[in-house]
Symmetry: C2
Subunit: 399 residues, 2 copies
C-alpha cells in the first residue's frame, strides 16, 4: 500500500482524520458477512471518502471481470467483461497500477486503454473524472478494481442533472487516490473472507445433500425432492418470522429427515406392494433410527436434524408417529418439515402414483389443517406461496 503521508495536498490533520476513518471502515467491512451488502458498503464508503458521485466494483473471475455497479439504491450486477488491458478496469487489474484520469472523454492518445462510452450512453450518465484502483490482497494478488466516477465538491449538494454532474466534476486528488487504494486493500481481504465463508457453507450443504441421498439410496429418493423440501421448509420458517440463524439451521437440517430409512431391512423397504401391519410398524421406526444416528453428534445442526428426523411424521391432532405427540408438543421444526415433506411428496410423481395438481394439493392441505398440520405453519406456508411456487418450478425433476 502507498503511504497516505506521501500526498501533495491536504494537511497532515486531514490525512490523520481520513486514516482514522479508514480504520473504522476496515472494521465495518471485516464484520460484514453478506456478499451483496459488503459490495454496497465498499462502494458507499469509497464514495464518501473521496467525495464522488458513483462507484463500481470489478471482481476478477478467471479471464473475466464481474462488474457491480452501485448507484443510489440500484444495484446492477453479474455483468461480465473480458479481462483485457484495453479497458480501464482491465488495465488496472492486469498491471496493478492505479489510474487517476481527470476526463475520460479526453484520454491521452498513447495509452493502451479506452473508455467505453456505451455504458454512459446506455445509462444516460456522463462520466468525466475517473479514479480506478486495484483491489490487492495481502499476498499481492490483484483480485479486482474499485472504480470511482466524478469527484464532486464535498460542500455542494449532489446534482441530479447529468450535465451538471459533468460540469461540477473535478479531478481526484492524489490523497483521494491513496485513500481509495487503502480502502481497496481492506475491501480485498473482506471480500475474500466472505467468499471463503460462502464456499465453506456451500461445501457443507453439498455434503448434506449428497450423504442424505446416500442414506436413502435404496429408497430411490431424488436430490430434487431434498432440495425442494429443504427450500420449502426455509420459506415457511421465514414466513413465521424465525431468525436468520433458525431459518438456516432448518434449511441445512431438513434434508437429513429420512436418513433413518438406512435401518429398515431390504425386505420391507424394497417391498413392492402394500405393507402388512407388522411391516408398517417396522417401517415406522425410521424416525427413531434417524434420531439415534443423528443425535450422536453434539453439533447444533445435527441436534436439529435429529429432532426433525424424529418428529416429521407426527400430526397436529396426535394421530402421527412414533410418539403420537400433539400440537405444540411437536417441536416447531418438526411441524414445518412435516408440511414441506408431504407437500412435495404429493406434488411429485412416484412409481405408484401420479403427481397431484397444485390446486388439489393446496385444497387438501387446507382440509388437513388442524388435524395433520399446524394451522400457524399452514398460514405461513400460504404467505410464502409465491416463493414456494418459484422453488417448485426451479427444481423440477428432469424428464
Amino acid at each position: 500500500m502507498h503511504s497516505l503521508s506521501v500526498h501533495t495536498d491536504g494537511s497532515a490533520a486531514e490525512a490523520l482524520q481520513i486514516s482514522q476513518r479508514l480504520i473504522q471502515v476496515g472494521i465495518a467491512l471485516s464484520s460484514e458477512t453478506d456478499l451483496q451488502r459488503l459490495l454496497a458498503l465498499i462502494v458507499q464508503q469509497a464514495k464518501e471518502l473521496t467525495h464522488c458521485d458513483r462507484g463500481s466494483l470489478f471482481i476478477r473471475a478467471g479471464e473475466e471481470l464481474r462488474f457491480f455497479v452501485v448507484s443510489g439504491d440500484k444495484q446492477l450486477q453479474d455483468l461480465c467483461i473480458p479481462l483485457s488491458a484495453s479497458s480501464i478496469a482491465g488495465y488496472v487489474v492486469l498491471t496493478g497500477e492505479s489510474l487517476n484520469l481527470p476526463d475520460v472523454y479526453q484520454l491521452p492518445t498513447h495509452v493502451p486503454y479506452t473508455f467505453n462510452r456505451q455504458v454512459d450512453q446506455q445509462t444516460g450518465y456522463r462520466t468525466r473524472s475517473l479514479l480506478t484502483v486495484p483491489m490487492r490482497d495481502p499476498s499481492g494478488q490483484v483480485m479486482g478494481a474499485l472504480q470511482l466516477l466524478n469527484r464532486l465538491q464535498p460542500s455542494h449538494p449532489t446534482p441530479l442533472d447529468p450535465d451538471q454532474v459533468v460540469e461540477w466534476s473535478q479531478p481526484f486528488s492524489e490523497l483521494e487516490a491513496r485513500v481509495a487504494e487503502s480502502l481497496a486493500s481492506q475491501a480485498a481481504v473482506a471480500y475474500q473472507n466472505v467468499q471463503l465463508r460462502e464456499e465453506l457453507k456451500s461445501a457443507h450443504l453439498e455434503t448434506i445433500f449428497c450423504l442424505s441421498l446416500a442414506a436413502e439410496y435404496r429408497d430411490q429418493d431424488t436430490s430434487f425432492h431434498l432440495k425442494r423440501m429443504s427450500n420449502y421448509s426455509r420459506i415457511i420458517a421465514q414466513a413465521m418470522g424465525l431468525s436468520n440463524r433458525e431459518q438456516e439451521l432448518i434449511f441445512y437440517a431438513s434434508p437429513m429427515h429420512d436418513v433413518g430409512k438406512i435401518g429398515i431391512p431390504d425386505a420391507i423397504l424394497l417391498k413392492p406392494g402394500r405393507f402388512t401391519p407388522e411391516e408398517r410398524l417396522i417401517m415406522n421406526r425410521h424416525p427413531e433410527i434417524g434420531y439415534e444416528i443423528l443425535s450422536k453428534s453434539d453439533s447444533e445442526l445435527m441436534q436439529k436434524s435429529a429432532i426433525i428426523a424424529l418428529t416429521h411424521h407426527e400430526k397436529f391432532d396426535g394421530s402421527g408417529y412414533p410418539r403420537s405427540l400433539k400440537g405444540e408438543e411437536i417441536p416447531l421444526e418438526g411441524r414445518i418439515v412435516a408440511l414441506a415433506d408431504v407437500f412435495d411428496a404429493l406434488a411429485s410423481r412416484r412409481p405408484y402414483k401420479e403427481a397431484w395438481d397444485l390446486v388439489d394439493i393446496f385444497r387438501w392441505v387446507e382440509e388437513n389443517t388442524g388435524s395433520h398440520f399446524d394451522p400457524q405453519v399452514v398460514a405461513a406456508f400460504n404467505r410464502g406461496r409465491s416463493q414456494i411456487l418459484e422453488i417448485y418450478h426451479c427444481y423440477r425433476e428432469p424428464g
Copy 2:
C-alpha cells in the same frame, strides 16, 4: 472507538504514521486464518505499536476469561480465570473501560480490582506499568481484553533481567492507550471471523462423520474407526509434503470411503459366514457404488471423496479391485487411504477377529510394501509413526 486525534502527547505526524500502520495491521489480522497465529499476531503488533515488553489476551467464554500469554516464542494458553471485576482484565471486560496503570504494585486503595502478584511470582517476572483495553466488536459487545505489560523506551534494547525491566518500565501514554484500543477493536472482528470459520468447518466435519456412519449403519462400523483412519490419512498426507489444502481435503473426504456399502443388499452385507465367490463380487461393488453416489456433487470435497471411495481397495501391484489399477495409476489419495484403512482395521477388534499387536501390523505393512501398498506412502506412514500412535491411543474404542 476513541479518536486518535484526542491525545495529549505525540504530534499529529506521529499519530498519522501510527494510524496508517493500524490500517496495515487491520488488513494483516483480517487475512490470518489460523486462530493460534492470529492471537500471536495481535499481541506482537500491540507490543510493537506500544513499545512494551509483554502482552496477553483474555477471551471471554461465558462466565470465564480464557487467558493467552504470548512472550517471545512461548505461548501459554487455555488457562481460565473466573470473569469478575476483582481482576484487572475482568474489570475491563465487564465495564468496557480501559485501565492504564503506571504501577500495578501501587494501585489506588479505592479501586475494585487487584493485581494478582502470583502470576509474577510463578513466572519470575515483574510487572510494573500495565495497559488493559477492551476488545469490543462492532456491535459494541466486549469479547475480551488485550493486556500490555511494561512500556519500555523504544530506543533501548529489550532488557533480559526482570529487575531491569521494572527499572525501565514507564507508564503508557494516552496515545498508546488509544492505539491499543483501536487495535483491540480490529482484533475483535478478526478473532470473531476466524472463530466463525472454525465453527463452520467443525460443523461440516461433524456432518461428514455422522452421515458417513449412517451410510454404514448396517455394517456396525464405529465413529472411532472413521476418526482414526481420517487422522491417519492426514498424517500420511502431511508426511508426504502435500499442501495444507490437500491434507485437509483428504482428512474431510476419507471418512466417506465406504458409503457405497449402502448399496449392498442385506443378504450379503449382513451375512455372518464367508462369502461365496458370487457374493464377494457383489460386495466388491461398493467402491463403484460409493463413487456413483459421491461424484454426483460438483464440490471439490465430494469429488475427492468419490475418488477415494472408488480407489481405496486398489493395490499397488494391480491385484486390487474394482479396476486392478497399478502403481501411480491409483490416485495418491486412494493409495494413502488404502494404508490408513487397512492399518486401522488390523489394529481393531472385530466380531470375527482380535486386534493385532502393533508390532505385528508394522511388520505386515513392511512385508506388503510394493505389493499392496505404495512404498512412498509407507515411508511417509513410518515418518509419521509417533503421530499415528498418538491418534491410536487418543481414539480408542470405549470398553
